[in-house]
Subunit: 493 residues, 2 copies
């Protein structure tokens, strides 16, 4: 793609100036329309070192009110802390919110192409990263993001000229790094890798725009023209429904909720002794996963009053507080609602060796958001596959992903609601909303069944915790966590 | 993709029957909505031999009124006649019209995967075909088509079982071909090739749906569910604006119309002698391109009364009538308007060794259709790249593509219009519309300049014919045609 690239003809100075003026006014005018349309715009600048990305970026943002944009500078390699998260993490947490621009001074491309040029990446690494990137860009555009990708292109000679000029000037010589010189020396290796990357990620939902960057003003005009064209196109698409991809992840068998016997129980004595034994084991395993740097994600979903809180407590009692965090998930805050619905979960991922427990999860998308109409049908239909993709990223990163469905029957819920209502110190736990949700039990049950069938993957399976006897459910949860962690530790010894 | 494919769980018989009933009713109901929305639906069935494509196809169409669908059976290899057209030709001419279904019993996939399995294709052939296919599917969905692709999957064992059963029965044994048996024997080779093809062409604008085809009824239900889901999604997208891809084809320099001197002329004597000489040469070259099977496409665009007709006549006078055709292009007929705007040109492509001359062309998209609002801005903005892609297919097929812009100034047009008006035998050549178009001269000139700048590719360049002196323009056209044909013949000797 890059090798075939042919520059457009640069207009003469006067035409260029007048076109730039027009485009700047256009971009300025789009700000408020973007805000009204709640369109998030992700603008990615990639390209050769010294191609002038930063300088053009500086020019482009001059047309935008500071309240409406942010710049994310990602061109340094990941920090030690970032290396302990999935590859996509440090980028995904930076995605813009609805109605605003986020400019990326390099993004996921650079990490991959550097890896290839410096031979830190195997072919397999490369292909896996390409899949992750195409998946993420598709998820963003499917969820209403405009993703504009610019590659700043200069020749080897031009790059050398610029690096020489920077080095000769005392005030700028610090800006030329060993890496820059190395890239210029190995220009053709980089050209091959860039060309392949651009071809492999040039999808019509988020196409590449190659910028002839020999002249700064001309580069600025090209960027502004493509950017404005992209915004104009995206503004027309407020009600676009996205093709729903086939969800072909390997699923494990999952019974329907109605077919799960709920009469399982455990005696008080057995509970005590099992609890003690399992918590001891879990405590030891927590040390081991910390040493082995295995990240763990435990997701809890279940009916209101099913006993999630108490269940989670029996897990955390066994854990070193420095190595875990519980994330209670309520309805999203405005700044969360303004982003891709998985953003707030990407944001809460644990580091390697740590455990994150989610009290309610991303599955709200296909339960409450579906049933209350907080997202479109197209949105939640697509979400099964999107959530499987998300969990696959976690699993491939090496995380243990455990998903619990805490199950009770409707009568048990009624008894517990009534008890909460009648017990002063429990009244805070019951709200009008709980009663309203309860009226939709059958709708929820159908949605939950669909969810469990469509997301019970081999790499992130669901476990049903029969929780009419809460103690039984707690012991079962502990056993599963212990077993999964033990297996993961064994695999990494 | 195929190797990772995991079947969904087949519902029990009763659930399956009731779901099928629902989906059939849905599909039946969609017919009229598709018609109203003018949505064209292209449904592609691919898969293993004996996987039951035909049988499911037969079931699906039972729910649709025969006025609203057609079936294209493409599973035979191209005929000798079809082999004399570009690879895409025999498929593209079959695309559905607005509001109707076209079911493809195999499509472009089969030709490519057969080519690979039987080693008739080189790696380079394969990649070129994949590019052409992805380009075409994108062009279709960009232009409002719904493209649904189903791959019918069965195991090697199941295939063998079915082939055996067919062969054992006297009434069906004829249906098992040598090719079927060969595929079963080399199942794993096909599996690799299918898997690669599906992965390489699985784009979110036209994703693949893999059908577990072990059970006919279950396969039917899967197809119906995906199809109905796809239709529902597409029906919501009536006003979708498509991202405009960068037009990075190699362009040759092109002057602005205003900068082209129009004072060129030729004396009557020189005209006579040149005409005679060039027509003789062209006549000989016509024989040579026929023998060498070189296809030729000559496209004429120009101002009203610029002299296109007379120019074309001087070309055709030299040609053997059995080896050329002139296509006068007026506004599209209803059945043409109901399809991708390039369809009527695909439909008129010459065979190898033949010459097709277009009197007005696909460039109407960015002139009259743009200026009269016959298509959206998004449509004509996208069209430059789409037309370059179309011409690239022609060039890669081996065609000589020559595009003429017949240029006059506004005063000359006025003089010729007035002459036509005042000369009884020329009055049929001038209409009110011509006068109306003339009022928009400046708008047209800007659009034509943009068109010439954005589509003057190295493989399909524009040639300006200065036609204030029509004789000069005729000789220039003949010289260019002779030169291009001579070059093509030389390259193929």
């Amino acid at each position: 793609m890059l090798k075939d690239y042919v520059k457009s003809v640069q207009p003469d100075d006067e035409a260029l100036k007048s076109a730039l003026k027009d485009e700047r006014a256009k971009l300025f005018g789009y700000q408020m329309r973007l805000k009204e349309a709640r369109l998030p715009v992700m603008v990615i600048f990639e390209g050769w070192d010294a191609a002038g990305k930063g300088s053009v970026l500086g020019k482009v943002i001059k047309n935008i009110d500071p309240r409406f944009f942010q710049v994310a500078t990602m061109d340094a390699p990941p920090t030690p802390d970032e290396k302990r998260r999935p590859f996509l993490y440090r980028y995904f947490v930076e995605i813009p919110e609805a109605g605003k621009f986020k400019f990326f001074d390099t993004c996921w491309m650079k990490e991959v192409t550097e890896g290839m040029c410096r031979k830190d990446f195997s072919e397999e690494d490369y292909l896996k990263h390409i899949d992750s990137i195409n998946m993420t860009e598709r998820q963003l555009t499917d969820n209403g993001y405009l993703v504009m990708k610019f590659f700043f292109h200069i020749s080897k000679k031009e790059q050398q000229k610029r690096l020489d000029a920077l080095r000769e000037n005392k005030n700028t010589s610090w800006r030329v790094s060993e890496e820059d010189l190395w890239q210029n020396k190995h220009y053709n290796i980089f050209l091959d890798v860039f060309d392949r990357y651009l071809t492999d990620t040039n999808r019509s939902n988020a196409p590449w725009y190659i910028i002839d960057a020999k002249d700064h003003k001309w580069a600025e005009l090209q960027v502004m023209q493509f950017l404005n064209q992209g915004i104009e196109t995206a503004l027309k698409n407020s009600a676009y429904a996205v093709p729903i991809l086939q969800n072909t992840f390997r699923m494990k068998k999952m019974p329907l909720l109605a077919d799960i016997p709920l009469d399982k129980e455990i005696s008080e004595d057995e509970y005590r002794s099992e609890l003690k034994k399992l918590q001891k084991e879990l405590s030891d395993l927590h040390n081991e996963i910390y040493r082995k740097k295995i990240p763990v994600v435990i997701a809890y979903e279940g009916w209101d009053a099913a006993g999630k809180g108490g269940n989670i407590k029996r897990i955390t009692e066994a854990l070193d507080p420095r190595g875990y965090i519980v994330h209670p998930i309520a309805s999203p805050e405005p700044h969360e609602k303004a982003r891709h619905y998985l953003w707030r979960f990407w944001n809460r991922l644990p580091k390697t060796g740590h455990i994150a427990i989610f009290d309610r999860t991303w599955y709200g998308r296909v339960m409450v958001e579906r049933l209350e109409g907080f997202c479109s049908e197209n949105d939640w239909q697509r979400a099964y596959n999107e959530m499987n993709e998300f969990e696959k990223e976690l699993a491939e990163w090496g995380a243990v992903v455990i998903k619990f469905w805490v199950q009770i029957d409707s009568d048990t819920q009624l008894a517990r609601f009534t008890d909460r209502q009648n017990t002063p110190e429990k009244q805070w736990k019951i709200t009008d909303e709980d009663w309203r949700n309860r009226e939709k039990w059958d709708l929820y049950e159908a949605a939950i069944n669909e969810m469990l069938q469509k997301t019970n993957t081999a790499f992130a399976p669901w476990y049903v915790l029969e929780s009419v006897d809460k103690k039984y459910a707690r012991i079962k949860a502990l056993k599963i966590v212990v077993e999964r962690l033990r297996k993961a530790c064994k695999a990494k010894s």
